[in-house]
């Protein structure tokens, strides 16, 4: 972890969320805590419906917490009392992609800084082209529409659009879920390169334990609903991560430690899912 | 006349406010009720103060009393209901009986489609009402000519909807049935027909709305009875309460038939709850 960064420390303290308290009172998050250091690449692994997205929504400012608190560099982001307000400090890259289809790649990427009037149009365009070029020669696609790009390229442009706002925290919500093995491993390579170029605190949400172990410095395994941090695992693989690490013994050892716990949560979530449908 | 079905009412951002909490609790759209009351009051006031050309128009109260006093019990009023309904039902049902099979044929038989579809496509934009003169010329009685117009109104819509529906059947659904050894007849009955039902329901929902629109105009132009005629005669004879009564009755009749059609279609497609 590079500690040159002193921004982007995320402190989650007994975060709790209950949907529709008066009615079905679904407890999505309960006593969920984690201390994330500045610049740390954290992966959160958990079955569907375990509250991963609820936590992400609270951090991003889309939803309010019913108990506990989340602070960014000591400033309260989310708590029962604070009005949730999204902002460029913590930008989300969405699961199904949220590039604006009606804007070109360049218009998408400069949208943030120009809307916040942080940069003039020309300055924003220059910065955008530079960043796109460094993140895998995407600048050549500047004038194309998202619909004309492959899903891999769309995902990377969306990451660049987020980074253009100099966010303190980058929130990735299962970004590579629908990709097949080969394109997924290519995207892992790109993400790690971009993270090395632009070190930020990263919160990576996924179902895929192998992906979490390969990408992250720290992996949190969440229990099925109500979501709580079940286990925390420091991934001491060296950086930069390479493909052959996927078949190394340290990696295998790390996987052995958590795979049983993750599988157990998956089983519980699956059976609860079916009971609810019965 | 063919407008889209309204989207659901979940909105982008809910302003808290008293009414929405009240609405959530009681499930009644209070603001809507307020709007309707305001509309009726506005109408009454405009008439009272003879503003904006409302001089020749009766207020809601006056129309209502006129309705209860004379028309509710008058046989001829209910006869116009019956006449209009008879024409709508005849034209609409005939359009479905001929339109659905033709739509299925056009959807499944490549050669027939490439032959007939362009002709249908050319006739579709011609407004149904424009057929009135030819229809009067062609059919021996006025009744038949109006029924023909209502038929044309619903026919094109159902044929084209069913045709599109048949062509969007999932290939896997057909292949799976073949793997399981089902014959062509069974495939048609248990796979093709059910999967076309949603398209049929869209065609019928739009069709019934068009049919009511068309019957009113046809009656105004060529009919000698029916709600359209009643409204037109109210206008010609300057008894404007009848114009209002006619319009509201047509509104109810249209609403009732649409509700009937959507109830029927809901019964036909229980799995689409």
């Amino acid at each position: 972890m590079n500690d040159v960064l002193h921004q982007g420390a995320l402190s989650i303290r007994q975060a709790g969320k209950i949907y529709d308290p008066a009615g079905a009172a679904v407890v999505a998050l309960e006593d969920c805590s984690a201390e994330i250091r500045a610049g740390e690449f954290v992966a959160i692994v958990g079955p569907s419906g375990c509250g991963k997205s609820t936590l992400l929504n609270a951090i991003a400012g889309f939803d309010r917490l019913t108990s506990g608190e989340i602070l960014l560099d000591g400033v309260t982001l989310a708590s029962p009392g604070t009005e949730p307000r999204p902002g460029p400090q913590r930008v989300v890259v969405f699961q199904h992609g949220a590039l604006f289809p009606w804007m070109t790649v360049l218009e998408n990427v400069i949208y943030g800084p120009t809307r916040q009037r942080v940069l003039g149009a020309d300055a924003a365009r220059a910065k955008a082209l530079d960043m796109l070029r460094r993140c895998g020669g995407l600048d050549t696609a500047g004038q194309r529409y998202p619909g004309q790009l492959s899903s891999g390229m769309q995902r990377r442009v969306e990451i660049v659009r987020a980074l253009m706002n100099e966010p303190k925290v980058l929130l990735l919500d299962e970004p590579f879920r629908a990709m097949d093995t080969v394109s997924k491993s290519a995207m892992h390579r790109h993400l790690l390169d971009i993270h090395a170029l632009y070190p930020k605190t990263v919160l990576f949400i996924t179902h895929d334990l192998e992906e979490a172990l390969f990408l992250a410095d720290t992996v949190y395994v969440m229990t099925t609903r109500p979501g709580r941090m079940k286990t925390m695992l420091r991934v001491n693989l060296a950086r930069p991560r390479t493909l052959d690490m996927l078949v190394s013994h340290e990696y295998l050892e790390l996987k052995r430690q958590v795979v049983a716990g993750v599988h157990e949560e998956a089983q519980k979530a699956f059976e609860r899912g079916e009971r609810e449908l019965a | 006349m063919a407008d889209a079905t309204a989207g659901q009412t979940v909105t982008a951002c809910n302003a808290p406010g008293g009414f929405s909490r009240l609405a959530r609790l009681t499930g009644v759209n209070w603001r809507g009720a307020l709007a309707v009351v305001a509309f009726v009051l506005g109408w009454e006031l405009l008439v009272r103060f003879k503003a904006l050309g409302f001089a020749a128009v009766p207020g809601p109260l006056e129309s209502l009393t006129a309705f209860w006093a004379t028309y509710a019990s008058k046989a001829s009023y209910w006869e116009s209901w019956f006449a209009s309904f008879r024409r709508v039902v005849a034209g609409f049902v005939l359009a479905q009986l001929l339109g659905i099979p033709l739509g299925l044929f056009l959807g499944t038989r490549e050669r027939l489609r490439e032959l007939m579809f362009p002709v249908l496509e050319l006739m579709r934009p011609i407004p149904p009402i424009a057929w009135v003169p030819l229809s009067i010329l062609f059919w021996p009685t006025h009744e038949l000519s109006i029924i023909f117009i209502t038929f044309i109104g619903a026919f094109f819509i159902i044929v084209i909807n069913v045709h599109d529906g048949v062509r969007t059947i999932k290939q896997e659904h057909l292949w799976l049935a073949r793997s399981l050894g089902a014959g062509e007849a069974m495939i048609f009955r248990r796979i093709v027909l059910p999967s076309v039902l949603p398209a049929i329901s869209v065609g019928m929902t739009l069709g019934i709305a068009v049919t009511w629109n068309v019957v009113i105009a046809a009656e105004m132009i060529a009919g000698d009875n029916g709600l359209g005629r009643l409204t037109w005669e109210g206008y010609v004879s300057h008894t404007s309460t009848v114009v209002i009564i006619g319009m509201v009755s047509i509104g109810f009749a249209g609403y009732l038939s649409s509700a009937l059609v959507s109830w029927l279609l809901h019964k036909l497609t229980p799995w689409r709850a």
């Binding site: - | 407008d3 909105t11 362009p118 057929w131 105009a217």
Partner: protein, 267 residues
């Protein structure tokens, strides 16, 4: 042109030819008075393209274009009014729930009344028959535009709104950058339906209450027993309806280049 396309073209031509001959034979030879009364296609075509048409309406006569222009002006006046009022109303309904509750009730109240039932009242209320016809045409186009715009706003993926808010967009930015472009495809679907419906109502309105226009021409030709002119006016209405819908589709494709761009998706 691939063999597939040429075969399709041949069949289309054959289809038109068969329809044409069927029409001609049934009018000319079928021993049925009902058919005999109808004008046959050859007479209609002759009349339509005659430099001196028997009843004064052909592509060479000014009167023909006077009616066309009258109808087209009315249709587009009503259509543009419907778009100018309907699109903002639809967006507002999708954007604020208070406005939605009020508007939805009023629309629910007025929509079941078939537009043409308004004609008598419109004539009474409005200064001229002309305005009444345009009003009736406007009404049906307005409902189609508003409801489709509302559906378009509702169908926007909430992630787009959230992404924009992350990037610092305020409410006005959201409306201009996300809501309007996002709802545009469905708005254009609504515009096409509105245009079709506008021509439907216009024709009927003109037949009942106008002094000129294609609808009027149809009834006038009927009363003056100029039957071929009825067919000419009907087909012209059909062509105008088709052309205006095609025009809207073209406008839509130009405005939403990003959608056609999506077609060239290379995976």
């Amino acid at each position: 042109m691939t063999p597939l396309q040429t075969r399709k073209l041949w069949r289309m031509g054959a289809g038109y030819l068969i329809a044409f001959t069927l029409w001609y034979l049934s009018v000319k030879w079928l021993p049925l008075a009902a058919f005999a009364r109808l004008p046959d296609p050859v007479t209609v075509l002759k009349e339509w393209f005659a430099p001196e048409p028997a009843y004064g309406i052909s592509i060479f006569t000014g009167a023909y274009y006077k009616h066309i222009i009258a109808s087209t002006l009315r249709a587009f006046a009503a259509f543009i009014l419907a778009v100018a009022l309907g699109v903002p109303a639809g967006i507002l309904m999708g954007w604020s729930s208070t406005f939605h509750d009020y508007a939805a009730a009023l629309i629910g109240l007025l929509r079941p009344i078939p537009p043409l039932a308004w004609v008598p009242l419109a004539i009474l209320l409005l200064p001229a028959a002309e305005v009444a016809v345009v009003y009736v045409t406007f009404l049906v186009a307005f409902f189609a535009t508003t409801l489709n715009t509302l559906v378009g706003v509702k169908a926007i993926d909430p992630d787009y709104l959230r992404a924009a808010r992350c990037l610092g967009a305020n409410r006005r930015d959201l409306l201009r950058d996300i809501i309007v472009p996002g709802a545009l495809p469905q708005i254009f679907t609504g515009l096409q339906i509105a245009m079709g419906a506008a021509w439907f109502s216009l024709a009927a309105g003109e037949m009942i209450a106008a002094q000129y226009g294609l609808g009027f021409l149809i009834m006038d030709a009927y009363n003056l027993i100029q039957y071929p002119t009825i067919v000419i006016a009907m087909v012209t209405l059909g062509i105008l309806g088709f052309l205006s819908s095609a025009g809207i589709r073209l406008l839509g494709d130009r405005l939403m280049r990003w959608r056609s761009g999506a077609m060239g998706l290379h995976r």
